[in-house]
Symmetry: C2
Subunit: 356 residues, 2 copies
DNA sequence: GTTAATTTTGTGCACGTCCACGGAATAAAT
DNA sequence: ATTTATTCCGTGGACGTGCACAAAATTAAC
């Protein structure tokens, strides 16, 4: 509410010209130690803040942001992330922002590698990274660091890097939530739980799934309820195979009343069960994709944990813009998204996206 | 991404001066029919959009927004709404916005009446209304309509009014969610449910509570599960009285394993039960207030339904600013907040507020 | 047909920041 | 001491909109 201090006022107080203040604010160099000190003192005293509006007008530079994420499919996880990104660009349509996507196959490290390699050649001002392969990502980040190009992580964070900002979920905590939901959705006292991962070679979002499962196990260990968890894998690539897998599993484990799928493919299991009219088994999955949304409505999925992918995309862009234009970085680098629990009864509310 | 058309360009195309275009855009009058028509044709053809940044700079007017809501207590529902409002004002700190609160006692219609009566005298440019008493609110809205002052609703909507925008929850749907949660949090097949309202004369947020209860009953009717719901009231004003009420109720209804409280005062029941070491009863309540938050952590409350009050406050301010400054109104007037389900395991995520 | 009143239109400045340009001051080189 | 290079600094225009004021055009009044 307090009146904004202007650059001109700062200059006057420090006994220099506005141009000098500007140079210091954008550390453009070519300014003497004495002036720097004088201005910085005034800056600290007054708590100067950029006026985003006026800087936006006079800025005519075009910023190129490259978005390096797994291929975005409409209605699936990365597609929703993209939605948030586009929304942010619209919000900042007064600024010239050029978005280029560098998609890669999240199941193919070679695709990731070749995609990441070309990024610097494309001359980005900033990069948004949806990391799958830690090693490849680390290499990219080092190159970006050397070039002084700011970057942000969405969905997951790779250790040892220096992002401007990250938007992700605490997957370990999500695993604990799954644990709780498994209990809740298992009626009766003798029910057993099951967890399905995917039978797949390579490390498809391995880190996320691993963290989820360790959180889940942690939860049950602490509870000491004596209940058992059956783990199993299903093959994703071959539908017939996975159908057989599941039916065999249920036959072997008749006490299982609730199955958690630690990725976004709960709808596959749900559809298989529905096609066999198996209705007494509750399914918990991740991500509010179109398919999972449909299954929630139909009742074949009991609950979905959602980590606001659109918000992640939106904020990543927003933070990078602030870093680029106003040279402002958030104090907190790591932001964790809420883990929304979505059931049939509150599903409708999550269709309208509130990001700004 | 398409290049913005400027007023100057519009003027040139229409063969008039920029001033004339400006007059038409702000319908300031004093412009001939022929010019109006010419400009409006160009306007429609080009799809002109205000550049918020440049208009923000040249605008030096101070806007006074009056916020007429129940007394905001830190950590309680309206306190969190206020948080969102303040956040919005900070976000728009480049614009001169003056916020004045007109608090009233939500349990006292006379307090509301006198508060609402003074609002027009305070010369607002816009008003945010947190409605409790429908009749009083309708009177206020009519006066605002006549004066041409835009207003927004938060938390609830009063019929027959013409707000610029509303941010609220579908309370009926929230009632259905409660129904589902009651089932989930009642282990065993013979458990009964209970719903507590507050024993209070007058209509404290009556509409909201009523809608919730009807949604809840609807849900159980549709389910035809044959389960019974016990309804009861507890007195809020007298702690000793409410303690007796509850213990008597539980004694009379030993099969009740889950109690829903249809307002934000679940923590009161939770604390009473905890003080008697009653641990096998799950409590479901509304609103993530400080107290409910604490009870979730302690485990004395099982779940809370939260309707993002901070988001409501934030967006109400944002929409009004857009209406005032840029003469832009959202197409959709009524916005419904997501109903987040919060349990101990995902509580931590809802402490950081993501509104923008 | 001249003057006055009124409506309509154009012009120009301000807002705060960015940044290019050129001038001033200082240091280095001869 | 003069020239040249280098560092440092101030000035002023541009961005697009809002708005006040003056100019022009139209209408009304006599």
């Amino acid at each position: 509410m307090a009146k904004q201090v202007t650059i001109k006022e700062i200059a006057q107080m420090a006994g220099v010209s506005p141009g000098t203040v500007d140079r210091i604010l954008h550390n453009r160099g070519n300014v003497s130690a004495s002036s720097t000190e004088a201005v910085e003192r005034v800056l600290a005293a007054t708590g100067y803040k950029y006026n985003i509006h006026t800087s936006a007008i006079s800025l005519k530079k075009t910023y190129r942001i490259i978005i390096a994420i797994p291929t975005a499919v409409k209605g699936e996880y990365w597609g929703i992330v993209q939605l948030g990104i586009e929304r942010a660009i619209e919000e900042y349509s007064d600024i010239n922002i050029q978005c280029e996507y560098a998609f890669y196959n999240q199941f193919d490290i070679y695709s990731c590698r070749s995609s990441f390699r070309s990024i610097l050649d494309r001359n980005p001002n900033a990069v948004i990274i949806g990391a799958t392969f830690a090693s490849e990502t680390a290499i990219l980040c080092e190159k970006l660091d050397n070039a002084g190009i700011p970057y942000a992580f969405v969905d997951s964070v790779v250790e040892g890097t220096k992002p401007v900002v990250t938007y992700s979920s605490d997957q370990n905590a999500c695993g604990r939530i799954v644990g709780r939901l498994l209990e809740l959705f298992s009626p009766g006292y003798d029910a057993e739980f099951a967890v399905f991962g995917s039978r797949r070679t390579g490390n498809e979002r391995a880190t996320n799934s691993m963290s989820r499962i360790s959180g889940l196990l942690e939860y049950f260990n602490e509870r000491k309820s004596g209940r058992t968890i059956k783990e199993s894998k299903i093959s994703v690539l071959d539908p017939e195979e996975s159908e057989k897998d599941i039916l065999r599993f249920l036959n072997d484990n008749p006490k299982v009343k609730c199955i958690a799928i630690l990725n976004s493919r709960g709808y596959i299991i749900a559809d298989i069960l529905a096609s066999h009219s198996i209705e007494d088994i509750n399914i918990v999955s991740f991500d509010l994709t179109t398919n999972n949304s449909r299954c929630l409505e139909e009742g074949s999925i009991a609950a979905v944990i959602c980590q606001r992918p659109e918000l992640q995309g939106f904020h990543a862009v927003k933070s990078l813009i602030h870093a680029l234009l106003y040279n402002v970085r958030d104090k907190d680098i790591h932001h964790f998204m809420p883990a929304d629990i979505i059931i049939r009864e509150n599903l409708m509310f999550y269709q309208e996206i509130f990001i700004n």
